[in-house]
Amino acid sequence: MTPVLAPVESRVLGRAARAPGTLVKAIQEDPDALVYFLLNVGDGDTQLLLLPPDSNDGVRRVVVVDVATSGKLPALLESLHAVGALTEPPGSPGQIRLLVASHPHQDHIGGMADLLERYNGPSGCIDQFWEPGYFFPSPTFHALMAQLEASPWIRRLQPTSGLTFYVDAVRFTVVGPGVGLRTRFDTYGVEINDSSITVMVDYPATRIYMEPDPANPDRMNRRSVSGRSRRILLGGDAQFTSWAQATTDFPDLRQEQNPALARELRAARGRDYLAADVQAVPPRLQARHQPRADGARRGAVPAGLLDPRGRTVRLPARDRDGCRPGGPADDRELGGGAAERPRPGHPRHGGGAARPVRHPDGFGRGHGPPADRPPAPALPADGRREERDRPRGGAGGRQLTTA
């Protein structure tokens, strides 16, 4: 059976940097990069995608997937703006291009009502809001719905598998919930975690380049070139039922179910369609007080830069025990601080004021290699070589453990 997950080979990882200021410097040196943050919010998820500058106006905007707590994300946005990585101040119109509530659990939406209160107004900081369409009788859910009801200018969507959304050079493809699952929500027979929106993020969305026409230098030709995009798979807390539905909607995921179809799809798409560089999916949900089977800590906080040429990925090294607990400096930067616990109800709790940048990789625990560990080798400059080196036949990638 073709493995779905395969470990990331160390040679495809960029050099893990430890010096203060390195991540900010890296962002500045690679201004077209898409930057992915998974914030350390304890038992919960808060993820930020700093989009590459829009090709139309040069403005960097963001996509937010889940907001577990009230303080950290606003602090990070403030800090990113302070260092120039975020073009406009937090709250600017259209800045949050997309806000995704993967599913209505406290540890995924606990800070959303606060986020809407901070940044949402008729000027329209939040352009679009996705949620699975699963109603849950928790106070946090009621608070979020009340905020949304008072924000009619936000476009809402309840996406199902197959929906594709382009934001300039980045493509978002919904993998789950499948429509066959979505239509069963009203029975209450679908477990809330399986309602999770799973979204695949591709950068660049396409590879179309312009070049001068050799016969007429005043004209430009458009060329489509091969070359893989960088991909992030954000899975919420989707469990078995959701992924089982995904195997129906995406035959590539379990190729032995229909080998002929899988072969045709592969030929048409030219690559392993579901291969991802970064996967943030829960291995299996466990009760809060039980240790993780894989030894990983909850609330790991990696960050990665995805270069449009597909040649740079900067991710924290991960030791054999999972995401390494960070040192004292790890949690202090760019709106960091210790793991912020999701609090119940309307989040008027944690502060999280913007903090000066002292350590570029210090977005929280789990970032950077242990002091006695040699840095991972740099990624080859030629992204094509990396594609050649990738394990075939499966969605290789780095699996981030979240819950």
């Binding site: 369409g133 849950f136 719905m145 009801e149 209450y188």
Partner: protein, 195 residues
């Protein structure tokens, strides 16, 4: 939009609770809103909230300081089934979203979810009456969701429909009173539980 202050709301008082709580004020003061937040790894994570309020437009909300009064408990799913669901003739398996109204009290709750060790004796969580209010809680969540996403119309446009809906609600009757069995309880032939 900040949550309204407690003074701006009235206690939520669905008909299924009325025969037990008596008055809205008594519901707010003496009852808790207990939600099965998560079922994972064979454990059900219960969260106990103060009784909710309703604002002038019919939204459920919790007062700003209510989160500070939240309590947590983790219960093995088999215990929840054996000691609460089965004695109460709840045939469904415990699932996230199940909601209970419970008289306040119980020593098994903790303020910090990280401290919520497994509770094997449900009488430590529910020393008094427990009601299954899942249908009403689900309906309230559905109303919140649909009201947030689509237009809400004036009742004057559909008085007949509202009257019919009211009659239907009235026919539902009170919430089911749940039996909380101690760990050593044994079921009896008549379906009851001897503790």
């Amino acid at each position: 939009m900040r949550p309204p202050a407690e003074a701006e709301g009235v206690p939520w008082f669905p008909g299924c609770v009325e025969p037990f709580a008596g008055t809205p004020e008594a519901a707010r003061a003496g009852w808790a809103y207990v939600l099965v937040e998560e079922v994972a790894g064979g454990m059900a994570e219960l969260v106990r909230w103060p009784w909710p309020l309703a604002d002038q437009l019919g939204h459920l909300f919790w007062a700003p300081d209510d989160p500070d009064r939240v309590a947590y408990a983790s219960v093995p799913v088999p215990v929840l089934r054996r000691c609460l669901y089965e004695p109460s003739d709840l045939e469904r398996t415990p699932r996230a979203g199940d909601t209970f109204a419970a008289e306040v009290g119980g020593s098994g709750w903790t303020a910090d979810p990280e401290d919520a060790g497994a509770v094997d004796d449900l009488t430590e969580l529910f020393p008094g009456t427990v009601l299954d209010i899942s249908p009403d809680a689900r309906e309230a969540a559905k109303l919140a969701y649909q009201g947030a996403n689509a237009a809400v119309f004036s009742g004057s446009e559909a008085e007949d429909l509202l009257a019919a809906a009211g009659q239907e609600r009235g026919e539902r009757g009170p919430a089911a009173t749940l039996v909380v069995a101690s760990p050593g309880a044994t079921p009896e032939a008549d379906g009851g539980v001897r503790t």
